[in-house]
């Protein structure tokens, strides 16, 4: 990998040159010689260092950079996005999402839904785990049963609560019985299937030597430095084009991009600060792709707060925020203004909801109506002050500053408090906030409304952090789980979206787009809305 040049030769020359020059015999000679020795050492060191190494990635491998380390490679335990990306390459699931977020077969050949509480999956034959053993219905049964086992402590257990029994009918058929109809059931079938024998033996150590049926085989994981995968020659959909994938963990934004510029890194997805995109797009060796995403940024309220529980105040804030300016100036255009939790590409998306375009005058009128008159018109005095909490992420801080300016224009004072993530998250969970902004990532099913707006879902039970309570919403989101047809569900969630846009438990900010930056020679990559790396098996280098 490294090309060595012999550093000794130029150094010897330098030394003889120096000694030829030294003819003086005065007292400073010794000192000078010391100095020259130092120069000699420094030069040798420099030459040694300067032996040009070949650090750019090889032709049959792809080096991708992550901003943070995946935390767990066991699909049953992982919750963070980067772990999910790698798990998607090592493991296969019964179903998976395609690039339009439709559910398609992966390990299952076909599936049936004979009645609302029964699902039968027919598994493809001759699918081999990376240990060489064939995948059977028993592995599927084991995977989901281990998640449901309370002592396994899987964070995903809740998604499978409604599963009453899993029956392996024969080697290639598995049946799921539910306790009641549950519409989001199928999207939960995108869980990676683990081999029963190995997973049982390894227990929680399965995360450090994961074995799946996916297009890539886990090779090694150096904590906080890199994860390496190699091609699975026996992959059931045909082997991948590249022989190796390397994921490097580089947490500094600038350094990650410099790596891309030097060719040491081939690929970065989403971990690119918006203000650096323009500098990247000027580089001839780099291609940038953007596409719609499934993440949603919002401004959250504490609805038990005496000021914020007034709908007019929330509407006023919604009108006061200049989303387009933030998107253009801070997010480099890599976002779409949002009107609700669901992105436009979602099948249940409702276009016809109340929208809040930037309108400070209307905001001021609403605040006056709500009884918060501006004490001195355009002067310095404020109607009231709010505290906005956010993480110490630079971009989030800047967004906070724009919100502060926007709200000042309508007479609302805003104190920005930034916290390290753990502290911030704790405050949000315990309701210790007035205003905050956060994102929901990976929104594929409208059932998300249940966990964020149903009144039973206030922490610690779920994610209704704003403490929102609306009986109509409660009824609708519960019904949305039971009704199975897309058409009927669409009607239900269309109502939910209209109510939410009118009541504003959240102010919708934007849907972040996906951005991928890669070296020009990387071909065959397809951007997925959920950021999945499924297309990695088709990537090659020119």
């Amino acid at each position: 990998m490294l090309r060595f040049v012999q550093p000794a030769f130029p150094c010897l020359w330098l030394k003889s040159y120096i000694s030829r020059r030294i003819k003086k015999t005065d007292e400073s000679l010794v000192l000078q010689r010391y100095f020259h020795t130092f120069i000699f050492l420094a030069t040798s060191l420099f030459l040694l260092v300067s032996c040009k190494g070949d650090f750019i990635s090889k032709k049959d491998e792809l080096v991708a950079a992550f901003e943070s380390s995946p935390t767990n490679l066991d699909p049953r335990l992982a919750t963070d996005a980067n772990s999910g990306r790698i798990i998607g390459l090592i493991f296969s699931s019964l179903l998976r999402f395609d690039e339009k977020l439709n559910l398609v077969s992966d390990l299952s050949e076909k599936w049936e839904n004979p009645n609302p509480v029964t699902y039968i999956f027919h598994i493809k034959k001759a699918v081999k785990f990376h240990n060489g053993r064939e995948l059977t219905a028993e592995d599927v049964k084991y995977t989901f049963e281990s998640i449901l086992n309370p002592s396994f402590l899987s964070p995903h257990r809740k998604s499978y609560e409604k599963v009453k029994a899993i029956i392996a009918i024969d080697k290639y058929t598995v049946k799921f019985l539910l306790s009641e109809p549950y519409a989001p059931f199928l999207i939960n079938m995108t869980m990676g299937i683990v081999p029963k024998d190995d997973a049982e033996k390894a227990k929680r150590d399965f995360t450090i030597r994961p074995i799946g049926t996916g297009p890539f085989v886990f090779e090694r994981w150096i904590a906080d430095e890199r994860i390496e995968l190699k091609r699975n020659a026996d992959y059931f959909e045909g082997k991948a084009k590249l022989s190796k994938l390397i994921f490097k963990i580089i947490s500094d934004d600038t350094i990650r991009l410099l790596g891309l510029k030097t060719g040491e890194i081939d690929f970065i997805q989403n971990a690119i600060p918006p203000d650096l995109i323009s500098s990247l797009s000027k580089d001839k060796n780099i291609t940038i792709l953007t596409g719609d995403g499934v993440n949603y940024s919002y401004l959250g309220f504490n609805l038990t707060d005496p000021v914020l529980k007034d709908k007019r105040v929330r509407k006023a804030i919604a009108y006061a925020i200049d989303r387009n300016s933030i998107i253009t100036n801070l997010l480099a255009g890599i976002a779409e203004p949002a009107a609700g939790v669901l992105p436009k590409s979602n099948w249940a998306y409702e276009e016809d909801v109340t929208k809040y375009e930037y309108n400070p005058d209307k905001a001021r009128r609403l605040l006056d109506e709500a009884g918060f008159a501006d004490p001195d018109g355009d002067g310095h005095k404020e109607r009231f002050r709010l505290v906005y909490k956010t993480t110490n992420n630079d971009l989030r801080k800047m967004i906070g500053e724009v919100l502060q300016k926007n709200l000042k224009e309508v007479g609302i004072g805003l104190d920005i408090r930034t916290y390290e993530w753990g502290t911030f998250y704790n405050d949000i969970k315990t309701g210790n906030f007035q205003l905050y902004s956060l994102s929901w990532i990976g929104i594929v099913d409208p059932d998300i409304y249940y966990s964020i707006f149903h009144s039973d879902m206030m922490p610690p039970n779920g994610n209704n952090r704003n403490r929102y309570k609306n009986t109509e919403i409660d009824r609708l989101v519960a019904e949305g789980q039971r009704v199975l047809s897309y058409k009927d569900r669409k009607k239900i969630y269309s109502k939910v979206q209209k109510i939410a846009a009118e009541e504003l438990p959240y102010i919708s900010l934007w849907h972040q787009k996906n951005v991928a930056a890669m070296r020009k020679d990387v071909k065959g990559f397809v951007l997925f809305p959920d950021g999945d790396f499924s297309s990695f098996k088709n990537i090659y280098k020119e």
Binding site: Y34, F35, T79, I255, K261
Partner: protein, 306 residues
Amino acid sequence: MARYIIKRLILLFPVVFGVATLVFFLIHMIPGDPVEVMLGETAMPSAKEDLRKALGLDKGLAEQYITFLKNTASGDLGRSLHTSRPVLSAVIERYPATLELTITALIISILISIPAGIISAVKKNSIIDRLAMLSALFGVSIPNFWLGPLLIILFSVQLGLLPVAGRESIYHLMLPALTLGMGMAAILSRMTRASMLEVLNKEYITAARAKGLSNFAVIVKHGLRNALIPVVTVIGLQFGALLSGAVITETIFSWPGIGRLMIQAINTRDYPLVQGCILIIALSYVLINLLTDILYAYIDPRIRYE
């Protein structure tokens, strides 16, 4: 000497106990819940309770503290809350990377600073002295998070000589070690210069010159050896500080050392891992100081330990 070392080693225990106690309470005082961070958004409350119980986080703080002390005393630093790996092996796995980086940085800084300091002192107020001290001022003032990217832009992006980040070969070590070594070289060269200047004015230097010794012998044997004591102290302190303070450099260059491990552990409220990292760092700090003290005796024969 042996007695002195034993005495110092015994003193380690109260230090470790103090550090352990301080760390335990400080980390538990930070708001945030490891279980929340671990299980994420979708977990059910009962799962959180189960996990809390499994990790022993459901007990009172005093009870947790006593268990922690007992285990630490028997050399068991516990298991990481996140990866359930033994803390000791996680820390030991990362330690070589940090040590490798720190020692190389130390060597680079000594190679630069001692000659620079001597020359500056001998050629006081000359152009070389001015230049050396000016660069030392730069070295001290430039923060690592700026110097690091700057070196990368020069050596990796512009010249294409060295890799940007990671820990694969000796080449990957060069830029982080240089970044880390620069700041230290600056401090050390100023220290060497000041110390040398003081020594060179001493009477025994005049005596050495008077007996006709060569200038080299005067400066190196009589001057440098006496001037080194404060320098060695600073090297010892700096080395200890580097072990724990290489966090920024490690983060910039994706160097998988103990500093990054600790930051990650703090972010995820991985209590045992934070405690383990800090204990090991504190221990190394104390040991390095002991080593420095022992070194004195070799540099200056007048120093004897009882």
